[in-house]
Assembly symmetry: C2
């Protein structure tokens, strides 16, 4: 008889382990166990099913060749035994058995294993507030919830909805409900910004503006007090600390997930600081006969070195293959994560990898940011779109710590972030990104790609010759009346600022600055401004040669306009 491999959990990691193990070992006895009756589905597709981009739930369960991944599929295509509606209740590591309980019949059995694989996933975290179990409250953690929510939306009975949590799932669900179904949707978030784990506040603001343009209401920095009962157990709204009562017929909790590590913990396997199962780079737990992967484990963040919880289907799939190799006697490794992430928000693609500025600081680095807006193609190419990109590096070592990007052309955004993500495990410096050899052709990039340009900016900042003021700081101070803008763009471009702000918006075009440098205001706090931050940096160099040190707005007018579209709008006085 062959090697006995028992796999607990059959959503993403488990099936991958099973299939890989089968291909490597034709004689293995492979058993795949899950509590649910629906298995091996693309859970990340749930928001697209809700939005009706994916019309039928079964599509999330199909292979690329249109076979539904059910028990029969695993039996006929893969010779893998599957037990659904079956819970693993205990592991006897000494005897190498796991106790399986049939949830319908209530009977238990012992399954012996040579290798045990834990792919027990994660559990949605729902904050302990009143009303969280009312009818109309969901956490959309599985296909059953997804089906119920979509049926509600299709019924036309949902006029307004509240999503609790502005992480990726919350935002994707908000888009799914607001876009096609026209549901009046509010996203509430305790943190002062959306996507707090993924982006810095500036990039998050740019993304939030897109949501608001598409009429999704976003309330950040506010705390959910409770879900309100409309009588007979049906939700009628939520109560917020600042915003008060928000009426709605549907509440979706997207307040994060926790590793489902109870089975491992009860078996005495080591857990990490984030509550996930600890694994080595072969995905073995503290018991070498027990592997774990997917949402129930912690991974090493390859930039910070910290042990983190990173629940993503893509990581689960890659880990599943590694476990499948190792559990059948092979040798494969999974070194950790650089935290690559991407999301589509209506017409905007958003991507990131590595650490945010805040995460970098928390990990003990001294982060410095370069941020700019630039065309994603050659600026003369007709389909060019604005892209914003931020690079974060450590001041002392110049190691690149993170990248964030967004723009209308999501694949182009992802291209930039993925290139840096590929580098991150190798400890790149800013010089590596300055010279990063991404492909160039006018329909796809500038000769000096935004990645190169942004790394150049960051180098200049680290060298002390580019001294930026962040756009956020500028906006805060300028609105208080504290700053004067020296606009070095062409006079006609500077016009609207001058018209609205008078003396606080001075125009000295760059090509006249060598002559007119003495006109730069010296009696008050002034700041240089151009379109993207490139020319205002250049004007810093010109003024520095005259002994004048002035900050410039990082990211320039493009970023200011993106952060605060109303900055130059003239109020209607009629």
């Amino acid at each position: 008889m062959g090697r006995r491999i028992v796999i607990i959990g059959a959503v993403a990691l488990g099936p991958k382990v099973a299939c890989r193990a089968r291909r490597l070992d034709p004689d293995a006895d492979i058993l795949l166990v899950d509590r649910d009756d629906l298995i091996s589905y693309g859970g990340c597709g749930i928001p697209y099913y809700v939005s009706d981009d994916v019309s039928d739930l079964v599509q999330l369960r199909k292979t690329t060749y249109d076979a539904v991944r059910d028990e029969a599929f695993f039996r006929d295509y893969k010779r893998i035994r599957v037990k659904t509606r079956t819970e693993a209740t205990a592991i006897d590591r000494r005897a190498r058995t796991v106790t399986l309980r049939d949830l319908d019949k209530g009977v238990e059995e012992l399954a012996p294993y040579d290798a045990l694989v834990l792919g027990t996933g994660s559990i949605p975290f729902v904050p302990p507030v009143q009303g969280a179990s009312l009818k109309g409250v969901f956490s959309v953690a599985n296909l059953h919830d997804a089906r119920t929510v979509k049926a509600l939306l299709m019924s036309g009975k949902i006029g307004s909805a509240v999503v609790v949590g502005a992480g990726p799932i919350g935002l994707e669900m908000a888009e799914g409900m607001a876009d096609l179904w026209g549901v009046e949707t509010t996203v509430v978030e305790m943190a002062p910004q959306i996507l707090p784990q993924a982006l810095g506040p500036d990039m998050a603001r740019l993304a939030q503006n897109e949501l608001e343009r598409r009429e999704v209401r976003v309330l950040t920095g506010d705390r959910l007090l409770g879900v309100l009962d409309g009588g007979s157990g049906q939700v009628k709204g939520v109560s917020m600390e600042k915003a008060g009562e928000i009426p709605c017929q549907l509440v979706v909790f997207a307040t994060g997930v926790r590793p489902n590590a109870a089975l491992a913990r009860d078996a005495g396997l080591a857990l990490g600081p984030a509550g996930g199962i600890l694994v080595d780079d072969r995905m073995r737990t503290s018991d070498p006969n027990v592997y774990a992967g997917g949402d129930c484990v912690e991974l090493r963040n390859l930039v910070s070195g910290e042990s983190v919880h990173m629940p993503l289907g893509s990581l689960a799939n890659r880990q599943g293959r590694v476990i499948g190799t190792n559990a059948t006697g092979g040798h494969a490794r999974f070194m950790g994560t650089v935290g690559t992430f991407c999301i589509k928000l209506f017409g905007l693609g958003v991507a990131r990898a590595g650490l945010t500025e805040a995460q970098a600081r928390a990990a003990g680095f001294d982060p410095v940011c370069g941020l700019m807006g630039m065309s994603d193609r050659a600026h003369f190419y007709p389909t060019e779109k604005m892209m914003f990109l931020k690079l974060i590096a450590d001041r002392r070592t110049r190691k690149v710590l993170g990248v964030e990007a967004l723009g209308e052309n999501g694949d182009a955004v992802k291209a930039r972030v993925d290139a840096v993500a590929a580098l991150l495990p190798h400890g790149p410096t800013t010089e590596d990104v300055s010279n990063l050899e991404v492909g160039y052709s006018p329909p796809y990039a500038s000769a000096m790609d935004i990645l190169n340009a942004c790394a150049n900016t960051l180098e200049n900042i680290l060298d002390g010759r580019n001294t930026p003021m962040s756009a956020e700081q500028f906006l805060e101070q300028f609105k208080k009346g504290e700053l004067t803008v020296v606009d070095i763009r062409a006079p006609e471009t500077a016009g609207p600022g001058q018209a609205k702000y008078g003396e606080r918006w001075v125009s000295i075009p760059l090509d006249t600055l060598s002559e007119r440098w003495a006109e730069v205001p010296r009696d008050r706090d002034a700041v240089l401004l151009c379109s993207s931050g490139l020319r205002s940096y250049e004007s810093q160099r010109i003024l520095a040669a005259k002994g004048i040190e002035l900050p410039h707005v990082q990211g320039g007018w493009f970023l200011l306009r993106g952060l605060d579209p109303g900055l130059l709008e003239v109020e209607d006085k009629a």
Copy 2:
């Protein structure tokens, strides 16, 4: 007086050096010299000007903020002196002077330098055939040619054109003439495939099919004998070795460029095997006071270690910044190239980095290829498109040597190639690409991205458990009647093959293979086939357990259909 920096050549590299040097050293005396009167333009944009994607030539000369980069621009914005229509005729390295000749007035002067920068670019190579200097024959190496060619196209007098050379410029020019202007365009190429320096023959065939679908005629493996004179010195066609006479009113030579290194050679600077100036990783020539960069230098290929000529505007720009830093006393490095390249061909994006299989073999590696077609998004996401991706690795070391990709969504194609390009200088193995942490979200990628999947395939091949037959070899042998297909797809999908090829196309669906394995033909050469090569690999594993070894078609039906769209077409017998 400040440091004197003299820069010869003012198209891509030269202006970048000048501007960077100015920002770093406000006191430097910077002189930019060019033979032409049009300087600092985006030469890579010429095909898009010809195609009218870019309507006015001046757009290729403008900054992102709409300033034309002429002499006045460099003077007023940058305090850089420019001498156009001026040729550098000699360098006196001992005296540190360069002789400049005014091409209009004929006078010469000596320009002293502390640092000299050679950005002399490249010279179009035109094969020595009769008629190459007839009217109507161009090489489109500068804006003057571009303007003349476009004027001819706009005149409506060009009914048909021949492009000599199927490299990037030739193909972009062909698209530019055929697409908007409706010119009947033929591309002729001596090599047996298009893009011979960039792609393997299979990927090149997929790209060529797109050109042919768009009615560009492509003749590969044929040699130009001469350009034909229609009388009065006007071209009337070309004469080919195999195809005979092709009538046309316009001939564009795109037969490659050679480094323009005469000035350097005459000054005794070291040249490399490809005829370009040799530079170190600070872009210094064999004389440390003389820098060189852009199309006139050779670079180290970071995968093969060889010294290569890689004339690309993006490399020139990045090198320009490095030289600007070093020439003003700083320390910056440019380590070499991994040969990243991308191109848009009508509706297809094509990208590559590293070495092709042939280049890898020539460089002494033992290359092994993984090639597959797969969705560029989650297969359930509505906008998904087919992408083809090839990874090349060395058999012994498992080092990844190259990547090639193409698909309808060019930015997504570029994303995959750029991620590998970023890795290549770090000597990645197939395992690094198997686990490469590119971003995942259903609108942009599969959970197991095509990059990961292709690296997995390559690993399985290297491990000897995936034994492919290349699609090209299959097509060659199958058409000779030598092979029988064992189609393991669903019966209805296998139907058309069975209908057309009868006994030579056997259907054994994968989910029945464990039962029906004995039906696999053993008396003749058989080969397994599925859609993408994933299931046919899986069926190899099932059959291997029964002691049956059969190759499978790499890339599966998707690739066969892409290479030979008529394979299953039934001839019209009416």
